[in-house]
């Protein structure tokens, strides 16, 4: 919506300038300038106007949050914030537990988790290979020891919430759609920034890199993205 407004404001500015130009040319014409000169100028103006109008449609982003409680829709601010969010979600601390397959990933290079533990129906593993078989309620001390949280798990099999391989456009759409985000509303998504397992990304245990910004910065970007309309970046 704001992008539209800005685009139209941009166009209005040009129209104003062009109107001045036309007015100036009309005066010149009445004072004896050739009509041919004015027609040529008009053609140029028309072309420029057409390009501006077409561009305003081409660069329009997609608003995903139509929640009436949204503070003020602003596609530029929203997309900018999401690109920060995207950097974090695609970092190994987040993406390793949102794999495309049914085996979590390990390490900063996102290789398959050693021992090939399976997702299981509830995302908590299978038989003798539950997540909590190795992942304790807290981090185990020592280099590359298993990180811990009482509720360690992957997304469940019926809603995998995959991050791996998703473009910014795809992930933004996936995150705001209740059918693909764990049935969460915008309000619940905002609260999810403080989920214990989400925050665990910033306390991953020794030997693991942190996400590219602090949790506070991530949370601010996350909330900004959602509260300004949750726009998806262009798919192009």
């Amino acid at each position: 919506m704001v992008m539209k407004f800005r685009s139209s404001a941009f166009a209005h500015l040009h129209i104003f300038k062009l109107a001045n130009l036309i007015f100036y040319k009309l005066i010149n014409m009445s004072s004896g300038k050739t009509y041919f000169m004015h027609t040529k100028t008009f053609a140029v103006i028309s072309t420029i106007l057409s390009v501006i109008v077409l561009m305003s449609f081409a660069i329009k982003n997609e608003p995903l949050n139509n929640d009436p409680n949204v503070v003020a829709k602003d596609s530029v601010a929203s997309v900018k914030a999401f690109m920060d969010v995207y950097k974090v979600l695609m970092s190994p601390r987040c993406m390793n537990c949102h794999p495309a397959g049914d085996i979590p990933l390990n390490g900063d290079d996102g290789h398959l988790h050693s021992m090939n533990p399976q997702r299981g129906k509830d995302g908590k593993g299978i038989s003798a290979m539950k997540c909590t078989t190795c992942h304790q309620p807290t981090n185990v001390e020592g280099l590359n020891q298993p990180p811990g949280h009482p509720d360690w798990h992957l997304p469940p099999a019926n809603m995998k919430m995959v991050f791996e391989g998703r473009t910014a456009n795809q992930l933004a759409k996936q995150l705001v759609n209740p059918k693909t985000n764990g049935n969460k509303t915008i309000k619940q998504l905002i609260a999810h920034a403080d989920d214990g397992l989400v925050k665990k990304g910033w306390d991953p245990g020794e030997g693991r890199t942190l996400p590219p910004m602090s949790h506070a910065e991530f949370k601010q970007a996350w909330i900004t993205w959602l509260n300004t309309g949750a726009y998806a970046p262009s798919s192009k």
């Binding site: 038989s127 003798a128 290979m129 190795c134 304790q136 590359n144």
Partner: protein, 155 residues
């Protein structure tokens, strides 16, 4: 003092709550059937059951076991006659034997949940148990045999 229930017996131990359960089992209580392999939950030699769920005792703090029922290889059966133990003996599975208690404890969780596991079920459940002697085929066959024994015993 920390109160534990190990192999259906209550026991009190005077240890730091942060101590790994494996240390308490082996060094404090003297149950040395559970082995120390890697110390970082990567090999499976130290698997025990906590309320029926497999855990790696080398990274499990003893405080996590308080109020839970711990079962080690020594408590898996009264007379070493669990279907898995019968099958292990029948197929002469172990070579050096070091990983075998962990293998059996993981397999026991599988058979408790799945009375007729497929080859893929067995592979998925046993992926986290390493055998440096490479007895994997015998382990796999023994689990199949144990499932068969278990089904016959339950009739």
């Amino acid at each position: 003092m920390i109160k534990l229930n190990i192999n259906k017996k209550p026991i009190e131990v005077d240890v730091d709550p942060e101590t790994p359960l494996l240390w308490v089992l082996r060094d404090t209580i003297g149950l040395v059937g559970t082995k120390y392999g890697c110390g970082m939950a990567q090999c499976g030699a130290c698997v025990v059951h906590l309320n029926g769920v497999a855990v790696r005792s080398c990274v499990t703090k003893v405080s996590r076991a308080v109020g839970q029922k711990v079962v080690t290889i020594e408590g898996l059966s009264e007379n070493n006659d669990h279907p898995l133990q019968k099958a292990w003996m029948e197929l002469d599975v172990p070579q050096c034997g070091y990983c075998q208690s962990g293998q059996i404890m993981s397999a026991a969780v599988l058979l408790n949940e799945n009375k007729n596991p497929t080859d893929q079920d067995i592979n998925n459940a046993m992926e986290g148990n390493i055998c440096r002697c490479g007895t994997y085929l015998r382990i796999h066959n023994a689990i199949k045999l144990a499932a068969e024994i278990q089904r016959k015993d339950s009739k």
